[in-house]
């Protein structure tokens, strides 16, 4: 069951928006964690059980894919699903991302409904 979610994005506005939509989906606010880049995210992942990571692709410092690669080489982290959120139209072919360990992709800008649909697909269920 997805309980603890880590939101990784250098934009505080985006993190706040994602937090709010996750709340609307039924996830508890205290169980939503935030990081401003991949390095900070790995720090949280080493200290806190996390069930799902939502990460921006391009961030100053460590981006979402590099963070995912670091997670894949750590036995404790490799099974945690990573969903990439990106505004980059060139980013993405889902097949290429899957080969790099990513489980899902959300294109920015996104509506709350589209976000919920993708999270439901990835997690299999929404709490609310």
């Amino acid at each position: 069951m997805i309980q603890n979610i880590l939101v990784v994005d250098d934009s505080e506005t985006t993190r706040a928006f994602v937090r709010r939509v996750l709340g609307m989906c039924g996830f508890e606010n205290d169980h939503i964690f935030e990081a401003g880049d991949g390095s900070a995210a790995l720090g949280i992942l080493s200290a806190q059980p996390i069930d799902l990571v939502l990460a921006d692709l391009h961030m100053p410092g460590m981006g979402g894919l590099e963070m995912t690669r670091h997670m894949l080489i750590q036995p404790r982290l490799r099974e945690i699903p990573v969903v990439i959120i990106s505004a980059d139209p060139n980013a993405v072919r889902m097949e290429d991302l899957r080969k790099q360990g990513v489980k899902g992709y959300i294109s920015k800008p996104f509506t709350p409904e589209a976000f919920r649909s993708t999270i439901t697909e990835i997690t299999g269920a929404i709490h609310a």
């Binding site: 709010r20 609307m24 919920r116």
Partner: protein
């Protein structure tokens, strides 16, 4: 019984044999709310995105604007036993009526306004039929919460 929602108008019902309808949604947006547990249905047909455009007019005709109209619609729904977390939200309209350049942007602004308001209310849009260039007629069945939208000779369930 058929209950007609006029332009800048809000209607609600708990009568199971009622159909709530609004016609000629061009750049305007129609918002349907339905609580399937309390069987309360409501519809708003608004013209403009924000009461800040004309606060005095909004005081007289709150349903003319997305923000004050939604506030009125939800208040009337709650008064009849609806609960926010159970509400099904369906929106339609916000077309760009090409014979009027001003209204073509109003349609988009109306769309943006209602999305923002619904999000601020912590609700998801269940179904939407927004944009395009054709006017719409929207029917809301109070008994089932089903919404039917007619536009350009086509009929679809929302």
């Amino acid at each position: 019984m058929t209950i007609t929602v006029n332009v800048s108008d809000v209607r609600t019902s708990k009568q199971l044999d009622d159909i709530i309808v609004t016609h000629s949604l061009g750049s305007c947006v129609g918002v349907c709310l339905y609580d399937p547990v309390a069987n309360v249905a409501g519809m708003l047909h608004y013209q403009l995105p924000s009461a800040s455009i004309d606060a005095s007019k909004a005081a007289e005709r709150p349903a003319m604007y997305a923000d004050t109209g939604m506030e009125l619609l939800m208040k009337e729904m709650f008064a009849q036993g609806a609960q926010k977390q159970r509400l099904k939200v369906i929106v339609a309209g916000g077309a760009s009526m090409m014979d009027d350049l001003a209204s073509s942007s109003i349609g988009r602004r109306n769309q943006a306004a209602i999305r923002k308001i619904i999000f601020q209310q912590g609700l998801f849009i269940h179904t939407q039929d927004l944009g395009g260039t054709m006017p719409r007629t929207v029917y809301l069945n109070v008994s089932t919460g089903e919404v039917t939208i007619k536009s350009g000779g086509t009929v679809k369930a929302a």
